[in-house]
Subunit: 107 residues, 2 copies
């Protein structure tokens, strides 16, 4: 599985539009092949900062996602609503369920 | 590296207290050995749902984090402010930077 975390920071005058564009991107991305999950959140420490969490089945699915014209359009639109470059981290990931056994359920 | 994503959903009458407790937990956790990052966010689709993203250096660091009494106290306090059980997903993860080459910077 591929996990992507990303963020982009809006301005007071753009955050509403940035949230709407982000949510539209999230909902569209969920319907793409290989998308396990895709969601967007506001950082509690900085509500102008939007944080994405995505799970994809494979690197190929991520490449296809990046190649969707609407993805590039979203990135362009989001950049125009932000004063700082977006961040993106990508990971190859495997469930580590065994760690949870006997541990507390969150934290 | 270990990546943890978790969530807990508050109620309209508890969300402020839940956010404050969560942020206190985040800030304390960041100072623990092996914590790479720890943050909390509000789901844009459901602002009552708080989503945590954590990065830890090793399984041992996660086990030590779960064993900190303040972690268990936070889980108990958070559960009392929520009507539903928290969710937790844990992954063994490695940076997949090569995927990003030539791709768009977010999405």
């Amino acid at each position: 599985m591929i996990i992507i975390t990303g963020s982009i920071t809006g301005r007071p005058d753009t955050i509403s539009e940035l949230m709407a564009a982000s949510l539209e991107h999230v909902l569209r991305s969920r319907s793409e092949p290989g998308c396990i999950s895709h969601s967007v959140h506001r950082d509690v420490e900085n509500p102008l900062r939007l944080v994405f969490i995505e799970q994809w089945e494979s690197p190929a699915a991520v490449r296809a996602h990046f190649a969707v014209p609407a993805s590039a359009e979203f990135v362009r639109a989001a950049a125009a609503l932000s004063d700082s470059p977006p961040s993106l981290e990508m990971f190859t990931a495997m469930p580590a369920g065994e760690l949870a056994a006997g541990d507390i359920p969150a934290g």
